[in-house]
């Protein structure tokens, strides 16, 4: 006799427990993140500002350029959404509470359809606000992205977990050492020596781009490391120091070096780029203490967008806003209880 287990009836399958679980997690996370009225005001302001900026860009450009951009954005968003949904399903099937549903073809399809419906609805609303006539390209672009990601999902490089050298992990660990910062600064200065023949504007652009690229390699953050250090009782400052030694020595060597080779303006650009990367590193460390990687990355992206917007429109307010963000994240991190047993 086949016994009917809870959660496996046709009613349960229709209800979509998988989707219900993820929707609940998402709503609870959003509620917790924007618990205070000031958080909500900041979020609303950022949303309005982002919509205004995107709307202005799309309206200012000819329809054909706007349409190609919307199509490309739709493809990228659709493809990203499909990959996200598939990754999430793989988690559910391996580590989740509802593996039964994640392995069942019918409930898998329902789960994917539900999340893509949400994605299409959000994209459609955004398109209507930005430039309604682009709806004919953005939504088909999303669907094309979903299809492309779905068709290529089976193509993966073979990956071996145990017994391999893990060069990526080794490099990441090395990039946090002070010597890595010195090495990166040396590379930057050697690159800038032949670039001195360029015109002033081009030279400053090279300084900025090269500094950002090298600083990015020194400021990688592993969310699992941050969480482990937090659980082990390390404070945010200690975690930041662990990750920031490479960029600190890079700043200490590259800025004076740029000053000597190219002058004060180049040194200022290098210093600004380094400080921006340090700020990004700090935001990520603090966010990883509080949230899952995916949500923390989203939050940091929103914060970074807001900072860029303020830097462009109201530079005087930039330090105040940056300090407010860091203070807020740090305070919430302190309130979080970390217990081992």
């Amino acid at each position: 006799m086949v016994r009917r287990l809870p959660g496996t009836s046709s009613a349960d399958l229709k209800a979509g427990r998988l989707f219900r679980q993820d929707r609940l997690i998402l709503l609870n996370t959003i509620r917790a993140t924007f618990a205070g009225w000031h958080d909500r005001i900041i979020a609303a302001f950022m949303l309005v500002a982002a919509f205004a900026a995107v709307h202005a860009w799309f309206v200012d450009h000819p329809w054909m350029i706007a349409a190609w951009t919307a199509l490309a954005a739709g493809v990228v968003i659709g493809s990203g959404a499909e990959r996200l949904v598939r990754t999430r399903l793989a988690f559910h099937a391996f580590d989740g509470l509802l593996a039964t549903d994640a392995l069942h073809p019918q409930t898998r399809r329902r789960y994917m359809t539900a999340w893509h419906s949400v994605g299409i609805a959000l994209l459609a609303v955004t398109t209507l606000i930005v430039r309604p006539s682009l709806l004919v390209v953005s939504v088909p672009g999303y669907l094309a992205g979903v299809m492309i990601a779905g068709l290529t999902s089976g193509v993966r490089m073979p990956k071996r977990i145990a017994g391999t050298a893990r060069p990526g992990w080794t490099l990441r660990a090395w990039s946090h050492r002070p010597i890595a910062g010195v090495a990166a600064a040396t590379i930057l200065l050697l690159l800038l020596l032949p670039a001195r023949t360029l015109g002033t504007n081009a030279l400053m652009a090279v300084v900025g781009i090269a500094t950002v690229l090298l600083a990015l390699t020194l400021t990688s953050v592993d969310d699992a490391v941050v969480r482990f250090m937090a659980i082990a009782g390390h404070r945010s400052q200690r975690i930041f120091v662990h990750h920031g030694k490479g960029i600190a020595t890079f700043l200490a060597v590259s800025v004076p070096g740029c000053w000597i080779i190219l002058g004060a303006v180049a040194a200022g650009i290098a210093a600004s780029a380094c400080l921006a990367m340090l700020l990004l590193l700090t935001l990520r460390v603090l966010a990883y203490r509080l949230h899952t990687k995916r949500f923390a990355d989203l939050l940091v992206s929103i914060f970074a967008g807001l900072l860029m917007l303020v830097a462009y429109s109201m530079p005087v307010a930039l330090p105040v806003l940056a300090i407010a963000m860091l203070w807020r994240l740090q305070r919430r991190g302190q309130a979080k209880t970390w217990l081992l047993a």
Binding site: R3, L5, P6, G7, T8, D12, R17, R20, Q21, L24, I25, L26, N28, T29, A32, A93, F94, D95, G96, L97, L98, A99, T100, L103, H104, P105, P158, K159, R160, I161, A162, G163, T292, K336, T337, L339, L340, A341
Partner: protein, 248 residues
Amino acid sequence: MAAGMNLAIELTGVTVERSGQRVVQDVDLIVAPGSWFGLIGANGSGKTSLLRALAGRLPFAGGSCRIEGEELVGDRAARALRFGFSPPADKLPDALRGRDVLELVGGSIDDVRPRLGTLHQALGLAPLLDRWIGDCSAGMRQRIAIAAAFAGGHSLVILDEPFNWLDPVAIFDLREVLRDIVDDGLTLITALHDLGTLASACDAGLMLADGKVALALDEDALRIAAENPQVFERQTIDRLRSGSFGEI
């Protein structure tokens, strides 16, 4: 095991691969209905991979897997449906409450409570139901994860190292209650790390080493082991160190 007896689980020559590597090789295993089967072995010996494959969380790469007489080696979804399984405690979502977890797995909490029975009290679930998982300690998360395995009312349950993170009182209470539930007809398979629990609480067991069966322990062997657990522990460790595999 008497010939022709109905078996809850029968694995024959199963292999499990993870990321292209064979982590479980040619394992034979039988579990009688209404018994507690203990799986022991060193870290990385393949216990978790075998249990995950049995519960449909990983595919079998080969062999035969019969559950309650039905061949399910190629059907992960059907295997997942048959077993109550405790998810890793650290993977429970921070943004859910204990109540949400149990209700997602087993429906209304009023339906879940009778399924848990005395386990509800042994795990001290009452104060955890309205607590955010993100605010729970590792031991609290472990209690909720164990309860989730029973919330669906399955007659076959797999627990991967259920006594990790628990305090001594909780370990004692949980072991007693699990034994009672097994005596009432549950088929329980657990990965364990201590030979004492294997000797005193389990009906049969298996030791894995490097993904292979290192030692098979039947009911008689465990009965003798329970009479003198210290000698059993010493003999088992000596056997493992010397690499002489087989049956005690």
